[in-house]
Symmetry: C2
Subunit: 408 residues, 2 copies
């Protein structure tokens, strides 16, 4: 993409209320625009990052046989009343609205109830199971305080997957597959080394649920980890009883802040029982469907990755997430001509800064925008028949012969 | 995709309240699920159709240099109050909700105000113009009555494009380009021959706006066309004054029902003036930005295409829109083995009905689901070294040699 043709505009200063690095840099670099606290627009660069995150998640989930759907945001109270969760006492983050023709609706903060209710029309026999259904969907949560850039939103994008099974064994097996898939997803997002599967409270039907927590100074959660980080626990289950249950009592644990990027939960009958999601088994007997649910915060992940890697100059994107791979700058007539040659056929990989501004301004914007590699072609580099390739992550610079450049 | 592995379930009967063909067949064939009147979920087949429609629109808009963004659904009243449109008297289809921390928010029924307001941060000079920004976004409209399947929704998917210019000439030029692009989009969607650009009322700043109307018995609009359909008018401008302005007075016009699938509008200063979207021109003078807006109803289009082509047996999808190209049925051991061979490597193009049900049931579902081609491989066809290929649109059947089948 040519910079001059695209809607990217870097700002000298971030809004004063963006105290977290992710919000400040993402705003300054032209990825997001704040509508109000916790509500953001995604500009072209930001939408490309979101689409990359979605693509990675989609690829890993499709491998497990998961299928994509799209549920509605507007919620009929009925299924929520059957689980007691339409009540503001029970769920305190509802946005509610009124139908012109009468009646209250909710804006979905999550989708267990409607998806369980919907599947009553499609699941009748053991032959229809197992079933794994996911969506990328905007969630609405009426948070009293929204803060930390895009880490805690009132309107945000989430991937939510729901699984449906005939037995606990089958649920356990799929749960383990999702754990593996989540590991691959966070690794591809570049945060694998700092993201840990933690023990969290399990509710009525399971001893524990699990979260995926990325160690992060601005994270809103507190987790505890042992020396080799083989056991990581959320604060709410960090007690002697759980430590001894997990066989790690007596080990030394450290405390740190972290951001929750995913969670997985064996729901079992939590929703299928009150909503009566049943099937007929091989012996012609009616049974209740076993369920699991598995979330990933998509827009939050954009903030977490931004926050994790940003340095004092700006953003630093891992390659699979970056909106473009290369930031291209040609200096001088010959430099620009060679840059044009490199650009052609790579429009979707290269952000070509062809603006009529000083090289220094281009370099500063390159650092701020944070693409993985910067390529500079100037009279100086051409004197050596080469271009300069700078790695945004390491800062390392190398000269690369023009012939080899074209192999990139 | 293997039928047995996917979440597709056809229903014998459509809900009684789905009186329009599109709602009835899309529901029965497992494309959509109704949450409440005017609010639908998209099941895997339906989501594939929606994604195909989006892809076609995206490809055609990107050719014009348009860039994709994603605005929020939650709306701060402020910019809407500057145009007077937050008032329920002025705009009578608002869904409104309350922030836990205080204050009323709206759910966007359209996005002129927030996008104009947002661009104040990014447009300052004539060098920043023109700019063409679009999104695919869920819109919320609190319709008193929602009906006709997915043709009139309370929550629906729309593509909205906004253009920003330094002059009326530049706006006119781009407006003409969008007219052409819309023609290509509707042609690719298979409804080109029945979709007409109509004259509609223009508001304060333009004599006319234009709509794209698809002739359809269940359409909610009324349009008038002359003998060669070179001039088509919406009801609100069908009067002597307009007919003589357009030079078609005295011609014979027929009346018909139609569904609005797109609209384009020269807004000029309608929003940029009250919201003060300005730029500095070449002579260092402040000027107001010229604007245009251009909508396409994405989920409505799915309903229009379904409604347009469905016959008594079910849906009939044009090739670019269809969720898969081929419906594959193998009958008997050898037929299934050959079908497996054809399926391999074509997982994304072929819906392989490998269910353990009678061929008759498969054929009925093939007709209901409406993929462009059905391929049947059985002992009977194999006796001739061939497969049967049936065109869903024409109903024509031909035998095709196995060697040629593999070239498909």
């Amino acid at each position: 993409m040519r910079f001059s043709k695209t809607f990217i505009k870097t700002l000298r200063e971030a809004p004063k209320d963006e105290t977290a690095k992710n919000g400040a840099f993402l705003t300054r670099a032209g990825y997001i625009h704040k509508e109000m606290a916790g509500v953001y627009d995604y500009l072209p660069l930001g939408l490309r990052v979101i689409e990359n995150i979605k693509r990675i998640i989609r690829e890993e989930l499709n491998k497990l046989g998961c299928e994509e759907v799209q549920m509605s945001a507007l919620q009929n109270p009925e299924p929520w009343e059957m689980t007691g969760r339409f009540s503001d006492q029970e769920v305190d983050i509802w946005f509610k609205t009124e139908l012109a023709s009468g009646g209250v609706l909710g804006l979905a903060p999550t989708h267990e109830e409607p998806i369980t209710s919907m599947l009553k029309s499609y699941i009748s026999s053991y032959r229809d199971l197992p079933l794994y259904v996911y969506q990328f969907q905007t969630k609405f949560r009426n948070e009293l305080r929204a803060k930390s850039g895009i880490l805690r939103g009132r309107e945000f994008l989430m991937k939510d997957l729901y699984s449906f099974h005939t037995s606990e064994e089958d649920l356990d097996k799929f749960y383990a597959e999702v754990e593996q898939a989540y590991g691959r997803i966070f690794a591809r997002l570049g945060i694998g080394d700092d993201t840990f599967e933690t023990f969290a409270s399990g509710g009525i039907f399971a001893r524990y649920s699990h979260e995926f927590q990325t160690i992060l100074p601005v994270g809103e959660d507190t987790v505890y980890y042992n020396a080799d980080k083989s056991t990581v626990l959320n604060k709410e289950v960090f007690n002697d009883e759980v430590l001894s249950d997990l066989g790690v009592k007596g080990q030394k644990f450290e405390e740190t802040t972290a951001a929750e990027v995913g969670n997985i939960f064996k729901l079992k009958f939590k929703y299928s029982e009150p909503l009566e999601l049943k099937y007929i088994d091989e012996k012609n007997k009616q049974q209740t469907v076993y369920m699991g649910c598995y979330g990933i915060g998509v827009s939050r992940l954009m903030g977490v990755v931004a926050e994790k890697f940003a340095d004092e100059k700006g953003l630093v994107w891992p390659e699979e997430v970056a909106p473009y791979k290369y930031y291209l700058v040609g200096i001088g007539e010959n430099g620009v001509a060679e840059a044009e040659k490199f650009y052609r056929g790579r429009e979707d990989q290269v952000l070509f800064d062809n603006r009529n501004v000083r090289p220094g301004e281009k370099f500063a914007d390159a650092d701020l925008i944070g693409l993985p590699y910067r390529i500079i072609i100037s009279d100086k580099t051409l004197a050596n028949g080469a271009a300069e390739l700078v790695d945004r992550f390491s800062g390392e610079s190398q000269m690369i012969e023009l012939a080899n450049l074209n192999k990139l």
